[in-house]
Symmetry: C2
Subunit: 561 residues, 2 copies
């Protein structure tokens, strides 16, 4: 029997980084360690004068990298067959779009003494919304001059994305912009650090970051062209040549682990490091995403990821945030969609309205679980944080309908869960309508594990069986999978991502199967949801809503008997 081999997955999150050591043959997670970032508040550097600002210090990345990996290796020593020499590859995922301004050597400007107190020289964290004006400008100009650029990103370029942030930096901190030779996504920076060459022209950039956040597409020759960027600002046009020409899927090797970092971490020098990508995309890989399977990463918000085979035609699905060749599985279109608030809506209701805590979530879930679909006569829209996919409209808000003088907290709590399920179904329907079948769902994330009621409602509403990913660390597992893929078959890794997934991912035994009775009621409720969705969300759509409250009462009567 060949000796067990291991891969390391590194997952750089919003507040911390996790290192995961995985048995390449079985996917068993033999050790894991989390390093919490030291700068700012839980790793987020904010500005009291501007609530939209959210930055990270790249020092945290370096410290977290070293600390999490060495601690995980330490932990793994207790596994008899483990040895650091048996680690054959490394994968890295990070949040994004989280770009850093760097100098000609790829050193973050934040490390320059001159910029050490300049918040704009830090990494611009995904949730930084200070670049809203620039995002609107980009959307407007692209719609006018390069409509194709918007086709892959839901018709709206976001303030969270690469060029919005860089342009905003140029507008508010021209000295930082001027000093930046290039800008590098965090998921490109970490692998470059590991391989010991951060020079921008040598970094193998992630197609996941490039395609989903920087309007990169081979159809139009990579990044947006000079002329367009010059339209935004001539200085952005000049920058283009110092960004990148080509981006890669994660089955490509970013380089080999440098001697220096091998020593620092206690790993064999020369093992391959995969091209990085974003956490959600790796989470889908670590959950077992494949054509026909939608992975839902359900947390405060929800990210939906699936893949579709590449056909001759370019795939366009209106309202879907991102469709990028190779961003999830190499050789497939990676499709990203999502809901701007899911767990956040339940948290809002419990903390802001009921003024309760985690226990109240449990209480309300238990009470809501005793209700039958339709019985409360309530219907809600899940737009408390806008609508990210299909309508792509941050200016939408929540709606609750059907309240009487007897309506209870638990009924509202259930209606809010149902609303997010209807929102999820709306996305799934849109994907299927454009030829991307969704046969089953794999859920991961905290809520998927902890809330069987929500899972059953999602199965009943969507009419699809819902599985739960075996791993609780699907992002880091996805990173380890790519570590095993770039290592290759000969050293005990894999030739393809699919083979690695087959060996290293798994599902829990529990499957949530749709219940026919509930489905029948939810089909009626979803029709009403869709009418509210279109009435309030689609320009020019008008409908007589006179019967909505009545139909809810009919359904209530029918389900209460």
């Amino acid at each position: 029997m060949a000796p067990t081999k291991y891969a390391i997955g590194l997952d750089f999150g919003t507040n911390s980084v996790r290192a995961l050591i995985v048995d390449v043959g079985t996917g068993q997670e033999v050790a894991t360690s989390v390093h919490h970032y030291q700068h700012g508040e839980q790793g987020i550097v904010t500005d009291p004068t501007n609530p939209h600002i959210a930055r990270q210090h790249p020092r945290d990345y370096h410290e977290g990298l070293e600390d999490s990996v060495t601690a995980a290796l330490q932990q793994a020593q207790s596994v008899p067959e483990f040895a650091a020499e048996r680690v054959i590859g490394i994968g890295v995922d990070t949040t994004g779009s989280t770009p850093l301004p760097v100098d000609q050597d790829g050193v973050p400007l934040a490390f320059h003494e001159h910029f050490q107190d300049n918040i704009n020289a830090l990494a611009w964290l995904w949730k930084d919304h200070s670049s809203m004006a620039e995002a609107e400008q980009i959307t407007r100009l692209a719609a006018q001059h390069r409509p194709q650029y918007l086709k892959k990103c839901g018709e709206t370029y976001s303030s969270e994305w690469f060029f919005s942030k860089i342009w905003h930096c140029l507008n508010v901190a021209p000295e930082v912009f001027a000093a930046a030779y290039s800008w590098v996504e965090c998921c490109d920076y970490i692998p470059a650090v590991l391989v010991g060459d951060t020079r921008p022209e040598n970094i193998k950039r992630s197609v996941c970051a490039a395609g989903h956040k920087a309007m990169y597409c081979e159809e139009w020759g990579g990044l947006p062209d000079d002329e367009f960027l010059t339209l935004l600002d001539p200085k952005l046009g000049e920058l283009r040549g110092r960004l990148y020409e080509k981006a890669y899927a994660s089955d490509i090797t970013a380089g080999q682990l440098s001697k220096q970092w091998a020593e620092k971490l206690g790993l064999p020098a020369g093992i391959p490091v995969a091209v990085g990508a974003f956490d959600a995309h790796y989470g889908a890989v670590g959950s077992g995403v494949a054509p026909g399977i939608l992975v839902k990463i359900i947390g405060t918000s929800t990210c939906d990821i699936t893949v579709a085979p590449k056909t001759g035609d370019s795939l366009y699905i209106p309202g879907v945030c991102g469709i990028v060749d190779g961003s999830v599985l190499p050789g497939y279109y990676g499709i990203e969609a999502g809901q701007s608030a899911v767990g956040d809506i339940f948290n809002w209701f419990v903390t802001h309205i009921c003024e309760g805590d985690g226990n109240l979530h449990d209480e309300l879930t238990a009470e809501a679980g005793a209700l039958k679909p339709g019985q409360s006569g309530l219907l809600a829209l899940d737009w408390n944080n806008g609508n990210r996919t299909i309508l792509v409209d941050a200016r939408l808000s929540g709606l609750l309908l059907g309240q009487t003088l007897q309506t209870t907290r638990a009924q509202i709590y259930r209606a809010l869960i149902e609303a997010t399920a209807f929102g999820a179904l709306t996305i799934q329907n849109r994907l299927e309508e454009y030829g991307v079948p969704i046969d089953r769902i794999i859920a991961c994330g905290g809520i998927a594990d902890k809330n069987p009621l929500l899972m059953q409602i999602y199965a009943d509403v969507t009419g699809r069986p819902i599985h739960i990913s075996r791993s609780a660390q699907t992002c880091a597992l996805g990173a380890a999978i790519f570590g095993a893929v770039v290592a290759g078959h000969e050293v005990g890794g894999y030739e393809t991502t699919e083979q690695a997934q087959a060996a290293m991912t798994g599902l829990k035994d529990k499957v949530y199967e749709p219940k026919a009775d509930n489905q029948a009621v939810y089909r009626q409720l979803y029709k009403l949801y869709s009418r509210l969705h279109d009435s309030f969300g689609v320009e020019g759509h008008s409908d007589s809503l006179y019967d909505v409250m009545k139909k809810l009462l009919d359904i209530k009567q029918q389900t209460s008997s």
Copy 2:
């Protein structure tokens, strides 16, 4: 100086009866006493097998009458100039429609030994909803055969009303129906008891009860005709002859206080007792209702009452529950409208959703008062208990729109208050549209006294100054006013109701004047409210609601700066 004269007002409510002794010259309330009913739960006899049933025992009326009047008289002894001989008249108001089955002598069947345990022989309290099927049938048949009958009662005959209840009794308790020689409204029964003659053919029936609840109108010769009632059931057709031909306003004397009751109460025999009416209508009189003045009795629900001069044309206002000649002030159309839930909506939110108590009302009111109109971005419909006036649709329900992840309890609380104010304005607009001007508002009821925030919001939303009735017992005061009117000028009373009102009613000093800034914002919000109102409430009305959430955000932005 002529000696001070007094009138007694008796207000028979849902849980108790109040006697009020009033100085006829000044309206000063010199003594008052409340008797709580003994039967059932707080005076309401219910049936555990049917939550729609709500009855009262007429024994409570008799005991309450004696107890409350004697206690009030006792209390008045401390007023030096008071003497029972100086009481010159009595007025009575009650809840309604609250009909009692009686025998040929007018004795309630509930007093018959044979029926002592029969819940259907009791008084059928206004809030008894067991007769829904009959109400629907009456509405359907009237629409088909006598559309005019529905014109004065908002196009819908209610399960709370006279004929629905009697017909339901026939259907579920034919033995009670058969034993009932006639049916008498509570507000007709009490004056008849006082004058010592309850024989149905001798009772002077209230036009308020007849017109608002029994489809009585002189235009078509009084009560619904034989043929129509026979259509419902031949036995109802037969009953018609044992009901009444004519009904009267309250400036008419029902009769003179009988010797027996004079002795029992300690009052002079022979003083006049006015024809009775419903509590809300007398409340309006006791608040100073007049043409151009809308009296709002604001409590768990709200009753709106005004009067309009009689013109040649019959007055018809679609969606307004009742328009009855003389039901409020003799010689004017009495107009009744209302909102099915006002205080009940705030109570629902505080008790069911926030799980708080009275203190939380105060806290939320204080927090809500610190917000500016429009600032929360929220908009609600006030239909948690259906819509009584304009839409006349019990099958409507609540709606809340504009929630974000930051929305607070206090913001929702304020939005609910505003929703009831928009509902109030909708009624006022409808009245004005049909030629009934509303120049100012007089509010009474618990909320009017206790919640200055709500009062100010109502002034700002409706654009009308709001006064508060001086008396806290406007219903009983209204009854006393009619006691003074039937007593007449010669014995120290009044010739007209207006004269009595002028002397006996008053306003508090505090006036809520509309604030121009707030009005400007509420005008914008009301436009959005109206669109939701019509979209969800008016059959066939369709509208693009796409901009509603956006406009709320615009208003939010504009009012937050």
